[in-house]
């Protein structure tokens, strides 16, 4: 077979057909002439000529067939398929719709899978990037920050990494001259952007030494005071806040400090999924090796070319073994804080409480994606099941359709179609349907993704950069083709090629094509089973979310409005002045109608990370296995905190107004802390001393509060100390972002507007951030379980709907095929009720078997979903029973309609009209 003639033929199909006609006409004419020459009349000559040729039409078709390429075949099949499908609009629209939903849902979830898990991070050679962190087993921290000294020493000692950079993330105030914004910040040292491999799009990035400083860091995402007044902007912020006008060299007000923009980064740059908008200097001091134990840095390192993860890991383990000696560190306390291998609990006769404090790393991508992987695979599996069910339905529909096209197929066979051609035709029909379904499905997917990202922003990492690209479209096409092959070849199952033509032609309407009918029954049972699995999963996940929402967070979250505010240190250098500002703000808010209580705190519950501050507890001596002297959380509060939040005081008292000016330094601790460090003793009157104030005075405990779930509804409460903001301010401690909480009886919208006015009156250059109800805070903190449960519920609903439609279709078909038989039975005395009962029972038998199979499968798959559940077992009997009852109810309803119609059969009409 020569390719070139074929390719040329494709374009000239019509011309080729005309040429063949001409050629045959020439032949006929020549034959006629020759016959006339032999003495025949013209009409006789013509008749003989045609006879000798053997049938003009057939010859022409046969010759054309030789010239036809497979592409022509395909084109013809597609034309026939489209015409055939358009002749049955009901079937076609149901099929296309079902496919659109199935393929669309799969495409949407796959684009999430691709965008979050499969796509590499957007840096050059991203597999070389590692995320470094420390372990701190003494305080049960598996992945903790790195201290600056540890970071500097790592850079100097290791040989496997070509570069490493340090940073931390947060938010800062940016004032563009008209209004204040709260923007996401990354505070970086000079090495971070070069480690990532990111160049400047405009201007330049930080030079060597430019990010250094001498003052200590105050808060995550905040540059310490005294750093060079320069900043790098993200591309997105440059466009949104500054309209893309020339900004290099211009100045922006960040946290009250006027900073010069030295560069703009390329678009689409992300860091740990935080999408920083401003990149500020970190103010680290490489020559200061004192702050060994202040852990607050995140570190990313890039492996050298050709260095494997294993060899880098081996080198790090070897380094940790002799770290202390290499850096010349010994002694106790902060001065002796260094990396120690886990097995070295005794060293030179001394106990090492910090054993196991090591530096560790894993791929950056793993850190960014984190535990989202399991949820996403679960979504993909669920949506795959939905597609399977849809395909089963379509296969069933196709089988029914093949039955009704018997005559057409028989005629085709008579005209010369081989069984192969008929199969080709079935498959072409399936592919045409699938193509239409896929095209529609991509639109469905695009809408679905847009809705999902809008409804659950930040619920999955990297979700903001989702898009339908070539890979996703290829996936959609692949799914379409596979589905088409599945359901289009279904009617041909159990039939060998040779007997195909006969089987297609036959299939009487007396019986219901026994084998085909049995196949359809199996399909429906399978659909019901799969639907049950999905509904069970949806039920378990929904109950998990309800459980999460029902957990007592430790405070009363109804009618509680919160917002956060950060007073820039440049304008409010003294802590005392900041405390005054907050006091005055609280006083004004208290005057708003409907407000019952108002207070402010430094940490907003439900999504806080533990700060793990070293704290001395008077009279507590830690045994070898006892908790170390740390506090997980510290809260600076102002105003009537505990009453505003609704957190009960279980012992002693809360803060009183007198404390603000009192010279006796007091704290409130939470129940967990009291039980951890003063077990069996009265915590009231005990003393503790937190680290890190200028002078470190002792505080006296005057009350114990109930636990608040600071880091999440589903996590245990940690140890917490509450300080009075006024007392802290007198000690000149740093006061960063404060969250103001207001309990009000008025509606949210009115209160929100009034609160905004008050805050603006206090300082118009400081933005009010995230003004919302605490209920929303809770919902946001569980956004991923909510996303998962809501999406799978939708899929389960779809699955149930599709299987019910399939069941209904099958039963209707059966009933309509058996009308004669039913009519006879009614004529012989069966009552309508009996007929109804019989049909209903046969339908319910199917549902029962399907449900039982589904429950068995659901129980078997339970362990895969267990890690995503909260407060409920994967085999929870109550949920499973509810699912069974629900599915059976819905199924029975679906069966009742055909059963009802069966009982309405008029036997006389039937018998007469046969």
């Amino acid at each position: 077979m020569r390719l070139l003639p074929y390719l040329r033929e494709i374009g000239r199909r019509r011309q080729v057909a005309a040429e063949i006609d001409d050629e045959l006409a020439y032949h006929i004419d020549a034959e006629i002439q020759s016959n006339i020459a032999l003495g025949l009349s013209p009409s006789e000559a013509r008749r003989l000529a045609l006879r000798d040729l053997g049938g003009l039409v057939q010859t022409r078709e046969a010759t054309r067939d030789v010239r036809m390429t497979w592409l022509d075949d395909v084109a013809r099949d597609v034309r026939l398929a489209v015409r055939g499908l358009l002749r049955t609009p009901a079937f076609t629209s149901i099929a296309v719709l079902t496919l659109a939903l199935g393929i669309g849902a799969n495409t949407a979830i796959f684009s999430i899978l691709d965008g979050v898990i499969l796509q590499p991070l957007g840096y050059p050679k991203p597999d070389q990037l590692m995320y470094l962190s420390t372990r701190a087993p003494a305080v049960a921290l598996e992945s903790f920050w790195v201290s600056p000294v540890e970071y500097f020493e790592f850079r100097e000692l290791n040989q496997s990494f070509s570069n490493a950079g340090a940073f931390h993330l947060g938010e800062v105030n940016l004032f563009d001259g008209i209004q204040p914004h709260r923007v996401r910040s990354a505070v970086v040292d000079e090495h971070l952007l070069s480690t990532l491999g990111v160049p400047a799009a405009q201007g330049r990035l930080y030079l060597s030494g430019e990010t250094n400083g001498t003052a200590p860091t105050t808060a995550p995402g905040q540059p310490p005071p005294g750093t060079a007044p320069i900043v790098v902007l993200s591309y997105e912020l440059w466009q949104s806040a500054f309209g893309g006008r020339p900004m290099v060299g211009a100045r922006v007000d960040i946290e009250g400090v006027s900073r010069e923009v030295i560069g703009i980064l390329p678009p689409g740059l992300n860091l740990m999924d935080h999408r920083p908008e401003v990149w500020l200097p970190a103010g680290l001091n490489p020559s200061d090796r004192q702050n060994r134990a202040g852990h607050f840095l995140l570190v990313i390192g890039r492996l050298k070319d050709g260095v494997s993860v294993e060899s880098a890991q081996a080198e790090l383990t070897a380094l940790i073994d002799t770290w202390a000696d290499r850096v010349g560190v010994s002694g106790e306390g902060v001065a002796g804080h260094t990396f120690i291998p886990p097995e070295r609990t005794i060293y030179h006769g001394r106990k090492m409480p910090n054993a196991g404090h090591v530096l560790q790393f894993w791929p950056l991508k793993q850190e960014v994606i984190g535990p989202a992987t399991r949820s996403i695979w679960m979504l993909q599996a669920a949506v795959g099941l939905v597609l399977l069910i849809a395909c089963a339905n379509l296969a069933s529909l196709f089988m029914a359709r093949a039955d009704t096209r018997r005559r057409e197929l028989a005629m085709r066979t008579a005209l010369g179609a081989t069984p192969t051609r008929l199969v080709q035709q079935f498959i072409t029909e399936g592919l045409v349907l699938a193509a239409a379904g896929a095209a529609l499905g991509v639109l469905v997917a695009r809408t679905g993704i847009a809705v999902l990202v809008r409804a659950y922003p930040d619920s999955l990492p990297r979700i903001s950069s989702l898009e339908i690209d070539g890979v996703v479209l290829f996936f959609a096409a692949g799914v379409a083709v596979v589905s088409a092959l599945l359901f289009a070849t279904a009617p041909l199952v159990h039939t060998r090629m040779k007997g195909l033509a006969a089987a297609i032609r036959e299939g009487t309407d007396r019986h219901t094509g026994g084998l085909r009918q049995r196949a359809r029954v199996c399909l429906v049972i399978g659909e019901v089973a799969l639907a049950v699995v999905l509904v069970a999963g949806a039920g378990l996940l929904t109950r998990s979310v309800l459980n999460l929402e029902g957990v007592d967070p430790g405070f009363n979250r109804s009618r509680l409005i919160t917002f956060s505010m950060t007073l820039p240190p440049a304008r409010y250098p003294q802590s005392a002045s900041r405390a005054e500002v907050y006091q005055s703000m609280l006083a004004h808010i208290a005057g708003i109608p409907g407000v019952t209580f108002v207070s402010a705190m430094s940490g907003l519950p439900l999504e806080r990370r533990p700060a793990t501050m070293a704290t001395d507890y008077d009279g507590y001596v830690a045994g070898p296995n006892d908790p170390q002297e740390f506090a997980d959380y510290t809260q600076y509060v102002i105003g009537n905190y505990f009453q505003t939040m609704g957190t009960p005081i279980v012992q002693g008292r809360g803060f009183e107004p007198a404390d603000a000016s009192s010279s006796e330094l007091v704290v409130i601790v939470n129940k967990t802390l009291a039980e951890t460090f003063w077990k069996g003793r009265n915590p009231i009157g005990q003393r503790l001393r937190p680290c890190c104030f200028a002078q470190t005075p002792w505080f006296t405990v005057v009350g114990v509060a109930a636990d608040v779930k600071q880091s999440g509804i589903d996590k245990k409460a940690g140890t917490e100390i509450y300080f009075s903001l006024d007392q802290i301010a007198r000690l000149n401690a740093t006061i960063g972002t404060m969250h103001v909480v207001t309990r009000t009886t008025a509606a949210f919208d009115e209160s929100a507007a009034l609160i905004r006015d008050v805050a603006r009156a206090v300082d118009p250059t400081v933005p009010i951030v995230r003004l919302r109800e605490m209920d929303d805070v809770l919902q946001e903190s569980i956004r991923r379980p909510r996303l998962l449960s809501n999406t799978i519920t939708i899929f389960a609903g779809l699955a149930l709907l599709i299987s019910v439609i399939g069941m209904y279709g099958l039963l209707s078909y059966t009933v309509s095929n058996r009308r004669r038989e039913l009519g006879i039975r009614m004529a012989l005395g069966a009552t309508p009720a009996e007929i109804l009962g019989q049909i209903l029972r046969s339908g319910m038998a199917l549902i029962l078997i399907g449900t039982a199979a589904g429950v068995a499968v659901a129980l078997g798959l339970g362990r895969y979903i267990a890690s995503l559940l909260f407060g409920i077992a994967a085999t929870d009997p109550a949920t499973l029973m509810a699912v069974v009852a629900g599915v059976m109810a819905v199924g029975t309803l679906a069966c009742s309609i055909p059963a009802w119609r069966a009982s309405r059969v008029n036997p006389l009409l039937l018998i007469r009209g046969d």
């Binding site: 000798d52 053997g54 010239r67």
Partner: protein, 108 residues
């Protein structure tokens, strides 16, 4: 006569043989087959044209429109070098086949 693979093969050979002597158009080839086989091979002329086009697709012959006897344009086929090679090979195979069939049939 029923179509069979065997007959198709022989028809191809016949066409190639005829064309190896001189180029011809479809009707001319049909006439020659009638003459050469003395009506012994009664292939329906209808199978001639598919065979001709198949040969052209496989490159054993080529065709072009040429003016013919009665000044009408006809499609004239010419054998190609590949066609001649095929003819040679198949001719040899036929002889071998006929010889061995004869031996089998004549054997005691």
């Amino acid at each position: 006569m029923p179509k069979s693979d065997l007959l198709q093969g022989t028809l191809d050979l016949l066409i190639l043989r005829i064309l190896s002597l001189e180029a011809n158009h479809g009707w001319g080839i049909a006439q020659r087959i009638r003459q050469m086989s003395r009506e012994g091979l009664d292939a329906s002329q209808g199978s001639l044209y598919p065979a001709l086009h198949r040969l052209e697709v496989s490159g054993d012959v080529r065709s072009e429109m040429k003016p013919s006897e009665n000044n009408r344009k006809a499609r004239v086929y010419t054998i190609t070098a590949a066609g001649r090679r095929r003819l040679e090979t198949e001719h040899k195979n036929w002889r071998k086949f006929a010889l061995s069939m004869q031996r089998v049939l004549d054997a005691e």
